[in-house]
Assembly symmetry: D2
Homo-oligomer: 313 residues x 4
C-alpha cells in the first residue's frame, strides 16, 4: 500500500464532521495540536464556535471531502453515519480518491463494514475508531480509541488519534473497533448490574457494604465495577454513585451499546442470555426516568422507590 | 464474654464432623498441626483413614460433642446441617454448655441463624465459616474462611481456622459468612457467564480471542474471570478451560450456590434478575451433562455442539 | 377411614380463623348458609362484625379448636399459617383428635405438607384448599377451590366449600392444591407479560391493537390474558386495563405467587427461566409503584413513562 | 387506484418464485386451481417437478417478471428476498410497471417496507403475506395468510391466496402481515415455554399431568399450547409431543421468528424481556441438537437428560 505515504503527508489538514458533546472538544484538541481543520455540522452554534478558534467552515460532508485527504467523523448513530458517508451530499460523493476516513462514532460493526466496502471501491481507506471515555476524557485528550482497519494505515491513524486520546489500540480489520467496544461494554453492563444485585442482596442480608466490597474485591467476584466504580452511594469516593449518579456514562448510552451488542448477537446467532437481559433492564431504566443518570444507577433502580408508591406511575 | 477464655484453653482437642472431599483434607491439616481430633462421618472409609492418622473415632455428633469443647462441621447442604446439629443424635442433644461450634458448610444464611439461636439458648457459640477454594486449597491449607459470629470469639476462631486456611475474614454477626459467600459467588457466576458471552460474541464477529482478552483486561469490562480464569480454551495457560474443563469449581457447585442466592433474594424480596437467570443457566447445564465440569464450561455450553445434532437429546 | 362419617355429622358447627379481605366475606357466606360459626382474628373490628352477624367469638386458634370439629383458615403467608397451627396457642395445641382442618391460604406446598404431617400425627386430617378469584368472587360465593388431601374426605370438604365457591377441584394428596395454584398462576403471569410485550410490539410496529388482538385470539398466540383480560387500555370493555388498572388481581399478589413458584422450583431443581424472570419483573413493579394495581398493568410498566423523565426516580 | 381492475384481469397467469418445502406444494395448489404458472427456483429438481405438472419454467426472477403481472414469492430469509427483488436479475429489474407482487416469506417487516417502497416507485404494488401453518397445511390448502398492503388490492390478493389457504386476514399497510406474524409467534413461543415450565414444575411437585392440564385449561393459565398442543408426552393424543416431537413446527423456525421479533423490538426500542429470553432459549436449543424437533420439545429440554451425563457434551 504505497498510498499510506501520501496519507501521512497530508495529516496537517484534517476534516472533522460531527461537533456534538463529544465531537466538539475532540475537534478543538486536533486544532490545538496545530492541524488545520475543515469542519461541518448541522448545528450552527457548534460550527461558529470552531470557526472562532480558526477552523474553516464547510457546507456539507461532500464539501469537506473536496478540501482534505483525511476526515474524522463523530456521529450519534447508524443512520447518521450512513447519511454522512453515502447520502446525497455525502463524503463518498466528492469524486475524490485516496482519502483516509476515520469514523469514531459507535455504530453496528456491520455498518462500518458496509461503508468501508463502498469507500474502498472508490480508493479510500475507511477505519472505524470508536472511543471509550466520556466528555471529560474528550476535553482532556484522554480518550481510548479502538481501531479497526488495515494495519498499513494504523501508524498514521495512531499519530492522528493521539491528538485526542491517551491510548490507541489496533483490534483487527475494519469493524473490529466497533466489535471490541460492544463486547467490552456488554460485559461492563452485565457486571455493573451483577455488582448492584450482589451489593443490594448483601446489604439486605445485613452485611456492611464496605466490608462486603472489600471482601469481594479480594475474591473471585471482583470486577471493574466493584473495584473502581461501586454503584452503592457512599461506599467509594469520587464516583457517580456518591454524587447522585451525575456525570459518568449515561444510562441511555449504555442502553444504546447493549442494543448494538444485541443486534450483533442476533445477526451472528450468538447466545447472549445475560447480555440480552442487561439490554432489557437498561432499556426499562431509560423508560423509567433514569436515561440521563450514570449507568451505575441500576443499583438505585433495584431499591424500593417509596416516594412513587401509590402515585400514578 | 468470660467464656472466650475457656474456649481458647480447649483448642487442643477438636471435634470434626463431615469427612467428604473437602472435610477430609481439612481434618488432616488440623491433625497435622498438633491438635487432638475426634471425628464422625457416615462413610466408614473416611473415618478409618482419619483413625489411622491418629484421630479418635466417635459414633454420632452427640457423642463427639460430649468429648470436646470445640467442633468443626463440613457438610453438603441445609438438611445435613440441621440433622447434625438438631437431629436425634445431634450435637445439640449432648446436654453440654459452652462449646464453640464452627460450621464451614455452605448453606442458607437463614439456616445458620436458626441453628445459632438454638445453640445460644444452650450456652454455646455458633459461628458460620464457609470456605472459598476447592479441594486443592483444602489440601494445601490455602482456603479462605468467611466468618459470621460474635467478634469476641473471632480471635479464637481465627487461630483454629489458620490450621486449614491462608485467610480468615470476619464478615459480621452469625450468618454473615454465608451471606458474603453467596453474594460473591453470585457475582462470580454472573461475570463468568458474561465473560463467556462477550468472548464468544467477539470471536464470532471475527476478533482474535487473545487480542480481545487483552483489551478487555485493560478496560472497564475486566473481571476476575477475564483476568485469571478465561473460559476460552487456549486463551490462557493453567486454567480449567485449557484442560478440557477438568478440575476447578464444578458446575453443580456453582448451581448450588446460585440456588442459595436465589432463595435468599426471594426471602428478602431483593431483585436479582441476572443472578436469577445465572441460576437458571447453571441448572440447565447440570441437566445437560456439564455437572462435573468446571463452571467456566458455560463458554462451551454456548457453542454450537454439532456432534449432538440429530442425536436423541 | 371410618372417621369421615363423623366429620360429616359435625359440619353444622365450623371454626373460621383469618377474617381479612378474603376471609371475612367467606366467613359471612358460611354463616349465611346456616352453619354455626366460631371465629378468631387479631383484628378486633373484623371479629366484632362477625359477632353481630351471629358468630361466636373465640380468644385463640387453640380455643376455636376446642369448640369445633372442623376449621377453615384463611391467612396471608407461610409464617401466619405456621403460627396459627403450630404456635403456642395454635390449633394443634388443643389436645383434641379427629378434626377436619382446611387451609385456604396460598402458601408453599412444603408448608402445607409439614403442617399436615403434624396434624395427622394427632389424628386430624389437614387439607390445603387455596382459592382462585378475588374479593368480589368471595362476596358472591363464586370462588374456585383447589383441594389437596385424602380423597376419602373430599366429599365432605366439597360440601362445605360450596358454601363459599362455585367450583371445588380435587388435585391430589395434601399440598397439591397449592402446587396446582402456583403452577397455574406462574403460567398466568408469564402469559400476561407475554401478551403485554406482543401487543406493545405490534402497536409500535403500527398495527391497530384491536386488529392484532382479533388475529391473535384466532391463532396460536391466544391465551386467557389475550382472550378475556387484555392489558391494553381500551381494547376490551369491563377489564381492569380499561379502568386505570383498578380492581382485579393486584400486582403484589401476583409477585407473591410467583415467589412461591420460584421457591418450589429451586427446592425441586426445576428449570423455570421464564417463571423466574416473571417473578423478577413483578417484584420490580412492586418496587416501582405498581403494587396495588391490577397485574395487567405490566403493559403500562413497559411504556415510556414520560412524566417521570427527569424527575428523581 | 384504477390499477386494481387491471390486476384482477391478469390473475390467470401467475409467477411463483421459491419452490422449497412450503413453496412447492403452494405452487402446485395454484396450478391445480386452473391458473397458468411461470416458476423459478435455484433447485433444478423442484423446477422439473413443476414443469411436469404443466408450469412454464423461467431463468431468473427478472425473466418471470417479464412474463406475468402477478408474482408470488416464498423465500427463506431477508437476504433471499432482497436478492430476488432487488438483485441483479431481480423482479424489479424487468422494466415493467403495474404488477402485483405478493411475498409470503417470513422476514423483517422493515425488509417488506423497503422492498415495497422501491416497487411502488416503479408503479408496482407490493404486499407482504406471510403464512401460518406448516407443510401439511400447505399441501391441503389450509394455510392462514396475514396480509399487509393497500386495502384496494386486498380483494384480488384474497382471491388468489384462497387457492392456497383457508383464511386470509388483512392486517394493515405493507409490513403489517410480518408484524402480526412475529407478534403472534413471539407470544406463542413464550406461552409454549411457560406451559412447559408449569407442567414440569407441577409434575415434580407430584401432580398428575392430566389433572394439572385439565385444571389449567379451565383456569386463567390456559393458552393455545396447553389447550391443543401440550408439550408433555402422553398427556394429549395427536400432537408432536406424543410422537417423539416429530412433525409440527420446527425449533429452528421458532428460533428464526423470535430472532425477527427481537430485531423489531430492538429497532423500535420496545421492551420484550420474556420474548428476548424465549429467543435465547430457542437459540440454545438449536445449538443443543433440538433444531429439527417440534418446538414443544422445549419441555424435553428442561428435563434432566441423564444419558448425556458424563459424556463429553
Amino acid at each position: 500500500m504505497e498510498w499510506v505515504k501520501d496519507v501521512k503527508a497530508n495529516l496537517n489538514k484534517i476534516g472533522f464532521i460531527g461537533l456534538g458533546n463529544m465531537g466538539r472538544p475532540m475537534a478543538e484538541n486536533v486544532l490545538a495540536k496545530g492541524h488545520n481543520l475543515v469542519v461541518y455540522d448541522v448545528q450552527q452554534e457548534a460550527v461558529d464556535s470552531l470557526r472562532e478558534l480558526g477552523a474553516t467552515v464547510s457546507q456539507s460532508p461532500q464539501d469537506v471531502a473536496a478540501q482534505v485527504d483525511c476526515i474524522i467523523t463523530m456521529l450519534p448513530n447508524n443512520a447518521c453515519v450512513l447519511e454522512v458517508y453515502e447520502g446525497e451530499n455525502g463524503i463518498l460523493k466528492s469524486g475524490k480518491k485516496g482519502s483516509l476516513l476515520i469514523d469514531s462514532s459507535t455504530v453496528d460493526p456491520h455498518v462500518s463494514k458496509t461503508v468501508a466496502a463502498i469507500a474502498e471501491a472508490q480508493g479510500h481507506v475507511f477505519v472505524d475508531a470508536p472511543v471509550s471515555g466520556g466528555v471529560n476524557a474528550a476535553r482532556l485528550s484522554q480518550l481510548t480509541f479502538m481501531v479497526g482497519g488495515p494495519s498499513e494505515v494504523f501508524p498514521a491513524v495512531q499519530d492522528l488519534l493521539f491528538t485526542m486520546g491517551a491510548r490507541v489500540v489496533h483490534c483487527g480489520p475494519v469493524g473490529s473497533g466497533q466489535a471490541v467496544k460492544i463486547c467490552n461494554n456488554m460485559l461492563l453492563g452485565i457486571s455493573m448490574i451483577g455488582t448492584s444485585e450482589a451489593m443490594n442482596l448483601g446489604i439486605r442480608l445485613g452485611i456492611d457494604p464496605k466490608v462486603l466490597l472489600t471482601i469481594i474485591n479480594s475474591s473471585s467476584g471482583r470486577c471493574w465495577s466493584s473495584e473502581v466504580y461501586c454503584p452503592v452511594p457512599g461506599a467509594m469516593d469520587n464516583v457517580p454513585s456518591s454524587n447522585d449518579y451525575k456525570g459518568g456514562f449515561q444510562t441511555k448510552l449504555m442502553a444504546k451499546d447493549l442494543g448494538l451488542a444485541n443486534d450483533a448477537a442476533t445477526r451472528t446467532a450468538t447466545p447472549t442470555p445475560l447480555g440480552s437481559l442487561a439490554y432489557q433492564l437498561y432499556s426499562n431504566m431509560v423508560n423509567s426516568g433514569f436515561a440521563d443518570k450514570d449507568f451505575s444507577s441500576v443499583y438505585q433502580f433495584f431499591l424500593r422507590r417509596g416516594s412513587m408508591q401509590g402515585s400514578n406511575p
